[in-house]
Every structure is written in C-alpha cells, then in structure tokens.
Symmetry: C2
Subunit: 281 residues, 2 copies
C-alpha cells in the first residue's frame, strides 16, 4: 500500500505518542517532532507507511536513547491476554465452527495496536468481533487452501495479539512458522514476546529480520525472504503487514481490523471493519 496524504500528519502523531512513552523530556520530544517533520519531504508517496514507520521509530529510539518504549505496555498486555486465554479456548470449543471462531478471536487481538489512533477495550472487542459480520470474507477459500497446505507461514503483528494467534494456530492443526520482528518497534511482537505468549511450544518462531512495523521485504533478512517466497500458505496479521505486502504476488491471507481511515479506504471498507482477504481473490 502506498502512502496517502493523511499518513503524513499521522507520522507526527505516532512520533509524539512513542516519544511520550520513551521519555518525559519535552525538549527531546520537541526535537523528535522537528526531525520527523523535516523527514516528511523525503518520504515518497509510493513508499509504504510501514517503511516510514521503521524510520520514525528508529528516530524515537535514537533521540530518546530508549530502544523499547513500549516494553512495559507489551508485558502488561501479554499478561492480560494470557488471563483471557482459558475462557477463549472454551468459547472456541463450544462453537459450531471452531476454526472460524478462532479466526475471529485472532482478529480481535489485532485491536491491541498502539501505533494506530484510538483506545481499545480487549474484552469488549472480543465480544464485538465474535458477532460482527466480515466486510471482506474469503473464509471458504481460506479453509480450502488450509486443508491442502503442508505448512503455514504466520506473520505476527502485535505482542499480546500472539496469545490470540495461538488459539487460531491450535485450531489450524498444521505446522506453523511464526514470524516476529527482529527488534522492538511500537508494540509489535519480537521473539521474546512470542515466547512469553506461549508460541514456542506450538510453532517455530523465527525473525523476519526487520525492525519495521510491518514485513517490509527490503528490510528483511535473506533467510526469511527465502521462506516467504517458498511458502504456499501465508497468514498476514494486522495493518503494518498489510501495508508492506498488499502489492505482493504470493498466496497471502490478510487478517485485520481496519483501524485507520487510510487502510480502510485502501481495502474499500469502513474504519472498524474486520476482514479476511485472499490477496488473489
């Protein structure tokens, strides 16, 4: 996905939010805003917002000397999600279509996004997403492809969301390679987060090599790219991965909640809508 005009003020807003978490020093945050403001002219409209996110969050860490501003928030959210896990497993077990319910839960987890605007209440979100109609649903194709897939490449998004991904992975009953960011960026999942969420026993956790808030292939390591181009079934969670990969020609299913007007418009849906989209459909 390209950068839209609305993304430019949003880059400043993201820098401000992250800067405030990273430091209490207003002078540092002002410098951060000055530098991100100056960067705007170097961000071509053709690049994906996730590419720019990488540069912005690097700048946050550089100026505030805080490599992981979201560390505590991530830990708190993972802890909270783990507390919800047993109840969610029950909901899945009692549902008519456990795979679909697990999939909805994995999408509900996508709301734990601290890069996008707005507040969230995860319990309310789960209730909502369990009932909400999909704005785009390629579930039948998904189910069919999954049946024939030998393995799944699962591109993770946010840290606590991994707990919800676990529930979907347990229902898919296929070998899964679970892909995380190489270094902390916003509240995106790193190896450490995925292991805390319990993905270690369930999947092979690998890093994509990137520190972008999305799977920006140019910034990924060779090993991951080989895996990506070889995979026959890819699940891409969240806006950041969508932004980075929406133009690819690979067998990708995007699962996300549209949390900003730009991503929603690119998908042709409304803000708040949930989607399961086959990139080739």
């Amino acid at each position: 996905m390209r950068t839209f005009l609305d993304c430019y003020p949003c880059f400043l807003n993201q820098a401000l939010r992250a800067g405030r978490l990273a430091t209490d020093d207003e002078t540092q945050i002002k410098r951060l805003l000055d530098e991100v403001g100056g960067m705007l002219k170097t961000i071509p409209i053709e690049s994906s917002p996730a590419e720019t996110g990488r540069l912005i969050y690097r700048k946050v860490s550089e100026i505030t000397a805080n490599p992981d501003p979201y560390r505590q928030v991530k830990e708190r959210n993972i802890h909270k999600a783990l507390g919800l896990y047993p109840g969610l497993k029950k909901i899945v077990a009692q549902s008519d279509d456990p795979l679909l319910t697990a999939l909805r839960i994995a999408i509900a987890g996508n709301v734990i996004d601290l890069g996008a605007p707005g507040e969230f209440d995860i319990e309310k979100e789960i209730e909502d997403v369990l009932e909400k109609p999909f704005a785009i649903s390629d579930y039948k194709i998904f189910k069919d492809h999954l049946q024939h897939a030998r393995s799944v490449l699962y591109l993770a998004d946010n840290a606590a969301e991994c707990v919800f991904d676990r529930i979907l992975i347990e229902e898919m009953k296929k070998p899964v390679t679970f892909v995380v960011r190489e270094r902390p960026v916003i509240n995106d999942a790193t190896r450490e987060d995925a292991l805390k969420a319990g993905l270690g026993e369930l999947s092979t956790v690998v890093s994509s090599g990137t520190d972008a808030p999305g799977t920006v292939l140019e910034t990924c390591c060779r090993e991951f790219k080989e895996l990506f181009y070889r995979s026959e079934f890819i699940i891409s969670k969240g806006q950041g991965n969508y932004e980075a990969l929406s133009g690819q020609q690979r067998p990708i299913f995007f699962m996300l909640k549209a949390k900003c007007s730009v991503v929603a418009a690119d998908l042709g849906v409304a803000v708040g809508d949930i989607i399961l989209k086959d990139i080739n459909a």
Copy 2:
C-alpha cells in the same frame, strides 16, 4: 497560550485540511505538507499556536495559489446561520435571562470552526449549549462590567459565528466595535463576512490588521492596537483569540467552546466545555 507538543501534528493536519479545500492537486498538497513539516523546527514552544496558524495558512495560499480556500464554506455557513436567526431571537425574547441566553447562543456559534478537529451540527449545538452548564462562568462579573462599560470591543472569530454574535450584541445594548481579520484565514470573519452577517447596521466593523487566525498583537495594525489598549471592556471569541491573548493584562472576557485538548487543558476544562472567563478572575 504557548504551543504544546500536541499542536505540532495538528499543524500538519490543519495544512492538510486547508490544502484539500484549496486544491485537488495532490502534488501541491504533498509539497505543502513537506514545507509545513520542515517549518516545525522553527516554531518555538513559547509562541502561540495562532501565530503559527498564520504562517501555515499563508503557506497554503502561496503553494495552492488560492487566497481563500474557505470562501464557499463560509458563504454557505453564513447563509445557514441567517436562516436560524429569527428562531434564535424568539428563544432569547422568551427566556428568563435574555442576556445570558444570547451569550450562550454566541458561544454555540463558536462551534463553526473549521481549523479545529471534528464535525459539527449547528442546530444540535445550539440546543446543547442552551442547556449545558458552564465549566467556567464569570457571568456575574461580566454583567456588572458590562453595565458600567461605555462601549465594547468585540473580537470576532469565525464568519458564520458573527450572526450569533449579532444576537448577543443586540442584547448588550452598548456601542460595539466589531473586530475582524484583515485577510481571509481559515473560516475566520473578514469585513465582508461581518457585513453579510448583518453587523454593519449594528456596530462599527474594523479590521485588526492581522491575517493570523487569532488576534496576535504583533501582527495587528497600529490603529487596532491603540483601540485594544484603550478599551475598558473586551469580548474575545473563540480559541484563536484565546491562544493569542490569554497572557495579556487587559479587561478581556473569553467566550468559547474548548474544541481541542490543548486549549481545554490550558483552561483546566474538558474538551466540549463552554466557558465565559474573565481574564482577571
């Protein structure tokens, strides 16, 4: 009022909104965002947001070659407000305290602000503001001062808001000098707008000499400044005038609805609150 960190992303958002009204050319708008982004580092935290607003809206006009992007919107809103005028006059006539009701209506008109975020529905707004308790109310002092004032200097804010100001001015029953911007900026009132709103028969309409979206004294003409420093009773409408004048030592009453988190925080009220504040109370 100083500039807060939240103002910096907002400057970009304002440029984007105005740019979109001024032109359909995305390349021009991108250039505008680039330039405003680059300006951020030159905006000291000590300056008032209204000072920066002036530079931003000048940049909008310069890059898009459109000196008045809000012209049509202003005309439409004035027309709409004039349609509401007779009904509002009736409400004032039938109320227990016509001055207070007129004052509330003048504040309701302040919602027609296209520089601040959010949508508005003027009919709903009037209903709401007629009932809503003031978060800050120096009405008693206001009434007392008004009684003793020989004349009123009334600093206008937005174009269509002038129709609502008219209702207050009619109830005040004092000679009024009605102060507008020298040139169009956002949807702020110019002489032309004030005359369309009917202020010509009711008051002496003068320009402050500024093209800032607020009475930034350094940018006002000598004649206005003389008037300002001589006035014994000043009404300042809206956020922009508050931003520019909150640090002054003059007999000013601020009337506004707090439409952004920054102005609300500076006043110690919540977003959406209405205030009538004596600067000296």
